[in-house]
Amino acid sequence: MSFWQSFLRNRGAVAGLAVLAAVLLLALSAPFLFSFDPWDTRGAPLQPPGEGFALGSDMLGRDVLAGIFHGARVSLFIGVVSTVFAVVIGVVVGAVAGYFGGLVDDVAMRFTEFFQTIPSFVLAVLLVAILTPGLASIVIAISVVTWPPVARLARSEFLALRHRAFVEAAVLSGVSHIRIIFGEVLPNALTPIVIMASLMVATAILTESALSFLGLGDPNRISWGYMIGAARAVFRHAWWLSVFPGLAIFVTVLAINLVGEGLNDALNPHMRRRTDP
């Protein structure tokens, strides 16, 4: 059964993919559909959803719908970019540890465990506060707190593959360690890492929202977490300010998780039985 066939058999994954595509479309179309600055006052403040503003306006008369469209850009950007960074760090550390073993493995794993012992959200808050809130510092903070599980996963994959015949053959024929790690072993270890990464995007989006909710977001970029955080004080006056961005986060994170599940089912041959009775 091909990858797509098994992926498409999972209805949840298909729905998730559709929603994710829609969110991506939201992000891409924001500058065209809402060509104005989402921070601009567009009308009377605190208007409920209706004729003037489809999803209402906030305390400064800003358009909630425009905020959701533009906010999608920040959420997706941070989700993807910080995951890429985390995966790169994690794979490098894990690959080196698993491939070389011995002292190198010990050092790398103790280093990884050091990060794992600190509660990750507290560390993220601390990092953002120290680096002063901004897009770059949020990406750094999320990457720093999310790479250790990737490293452990990569290490276990490398440990398993390290003494397989094709690796030994490559070593004997004098191929450099770097080429073996990235050219021979990594492609065979990639599947579980990709699945993990897809789920990490969802976590990263949630973490960004939580940081923004606490006022540690980039103050110059509108994001869903920021919108909810700003609406907290007026929740009893204007429910629409927190509900719509909250729904956006919920739906997006759910969709990513569904897609991740689908990938897992489609890519993991041992798990195929789950959808193949």
């Binding site: 600055d37 305390m59 400064l60 002063t132 103050p219 110059n220 004080a233 009893r236």
Partner: protein, 524 residues
């Protein structure tokens, strides 16, 4: 019911309740519950000067006087006073029937000790005032204050917040800050300290031997620590507390609470505090060194929008360096109405032409990190200045970081607010005097504005005891400073006090909830 009708009915209700209040005689008894947040580090004024310290402390301690809504002196521990025509000698007659909470009599010795020793040593805000003064006891109930040169703000420095009278017999010869009596304060005020349950409340009880016979009316006051603003609002709604003030309730919630029958919102009682919020502009940096740029900023801001939508109406557009409640306030100063076209014209005149992206200048705004209201303000300023081509990037920080960058002049623009106090020589001049440009110290002349003419006028006004002359001098200052616009004044914040309609005569002077509450009573 339409909004108009609601407000008419509301006004009629107010008028009605005002007449009934006047007709009713105070009733004795009852326990007042008030919110207090955050929990103060201590409840002795001077040793601590945080806003939450003041609420319970002002019920236990008293000054020689207090100041009414117009900041005119009202006698408290001083029966009467006389100022020599040269303005160098002040003689106070003290009340004779006053006792400390521990039963010892209050005498001139206590005043001499407080002014000569206690204030200069621990009260950082009043230290400069009382360092100018030498206090001596003429007899057991008369004190004389002598100055080397006239100092006009002295007469507005005798309230409980600025100069509480402390018991000499308990403090003299001790380390004032470490004295264990700070944990169980002894004052002359209408309420005595009973208990401080950490994390829960401060409990004060009626002083039965208070010098005003028959007062206070309340049996006890509980200051309850409620950490969350939504819970505080709920406590008011359900009647668990009868009083909340200043920052206790989110501004957005105040109007809603005001509509609830049985609750009253007032913005009176903050005349002494008189807070102005402004954008501090670093006059050392380009383009802020050009007054045209600073005026352009003021013209670009719709301060009426800020008043209505960010401060939710609990503010008044500020016109210049003085608060409108000051007796020296002059409204006839250069004004900066909302006029983006004028702002653009000023920027054009400076030669700041828009580039391809419509940007004339790029500046940074360090927002005051005091919560949502201040974040909204920063966001609004960014959008409004962006409209005239001044691209603002917001910088965020924590409170300590904000204070340190602000004090060390490491900012382009920052939002802030400051109390103007009872006299311009105490609360206003500190922001504009050249001699007060002190790197590293907050709430000094941080903008770097310097004008020898203004310095001379401030010095003359502080040294004159002729109120008419002072008024003329402060008018001149206001015109010059408002014209130069060294900082961008936004609004006068009208701190709200929200209380149960049953609580009467609580807000009776310029100190609002920081009055002694000797006259406050609860209707049955």
């Amino acid at each position: 019911m339409s909004r108009v009708w609601k407000s008419i009915a509301f006004a009629a209700g107010l008028a009605l309740s005002a007449t009934t209040v006047a007709a009713q005689a105070p009733q004795k008894g009852g326990i007042l519950n008030s919110t207090l947040w955050p929990e103060p580090p201590g409840i002795v004024i001077g040793v601590n000067l945080n806003a939450p310290t003041l609420l319970p402390a002002t019920k236990m301690f008293e000054g020689l006087m207090t100041y009414d809504f117009n900041l005119a002196p009202v006698p408290v521990l001083a029966e009467s006073w006389e100022i020599a025509p040269d303005g160098l000698t002040y003689t106070f007659k003290l009340r004779r029937n006053v006792k400390w909470h521990d039963g010892k009599p209050f005498t001139a010795e206590d005043v001499v000790f407080s002014f000569n020793e206690f204030m200069p040593q621990v009260h950082s805000r009043s230290r400069p005032t009382f360092e100018r003064v030498k206090t001596t006891a003429v007899d057991a109930h008369t004190v004389r204050l002598e100055l080397k040169e006239p100092y006009a703000p002295l007469i507005r420095s005798f309230d409980t917040l600025s100069a509480p009278i402390m018991p000499a017999h308990l403090y003299k010869g001790t380390d004032f800050r470490a004295n264990p009596i700070n944990q169980t304060p002894v004052g002359t005020g209408p309420f005595k300290f009973k208990e401080w349950k950490k994390g829960e409340y401060v409990h004060l009880v009626r002083n039965d031997s208070y010098w005003q016979a028959g007062k206070p009316y309340l049996d006890a006051i509980y200051y309850r620590f409620i950490p969350d603003s939504a819970s505080r609002a709920l406590a008011l709604e359900t009647g668990q507390v009868q009083l909340a003030a200043q920052t206790d309730i989110e501004f957005v919630d105040v109007a809603r609470l005001g509509k609830i029958p049985g609750l009253v919102v007032t913005t009176k009682g903050w005349e002494w505090n008189s807070t102005i919020s402004w954008i501090e502009l670093n006059n050392r940096r380009k383009p802020f060194d050009d007054p045209r740029f600073r005026r352009a900023i003021l013209h670009a801001l719709d301060r009426e929008f800020i008043r209505t939508n960010i401060f939710f109406g609990l503010a008044k557009v500020a016109t210049g360096p003085l608060h409108s409640s000051s007796p020296f306030y002059d409204p006839n100063v250069p004004a900066y109405p909302f006029d983006p076209a004028k702002a653009s014209a000023l920027l054009d005149e400076m030669g700041l032409k828009p580039d391809g992206g419509g940007v004339r200048a790029r500046v940074k705004l360090l927002g005051l990190p005091y919560g949502e209201l201040w974040s909204r303000l920063s966001e609004y300023i960014r959008q409004a200045l962006g409209k005239v081509g001044v691209q603002v990037t917001l910088e965020s920080s924590d409170v300590a970081g904000w204070g340190s960058r602000f004090a060390n002049w490491d900012y382009d623009m920052t939002t802030t607010f400051l109390s103007m106090l009872a006299d311009p020589a105490l609360g206003v001049s500190r922001t504009y005097l050249t001699s007060n440009i002190r790197k590293g110290v907050l709430f000094t002349n941080t903008s770097g504005y310097s004008n020898p003419e203004v310095d001379a006028l401030f010095a003359k006004a502080a040294g004159s005891t002729d109120e008419g002359e002072r008024k003329r001098l402060y008018s001149q200052i206001q015109k010059i400073v408002a014209g130069a616009a060294p900082i961008a004044w936004l609004v006068e914040i009208q701190w709200p006090t929200i209380h149960s309609a049953k609580l009467r005569d609580a807000i009776i002077n310029g100190f609002g909830p920081n009055d002694s509450f000797a006259d406050a009573w609860l209707a049955k």
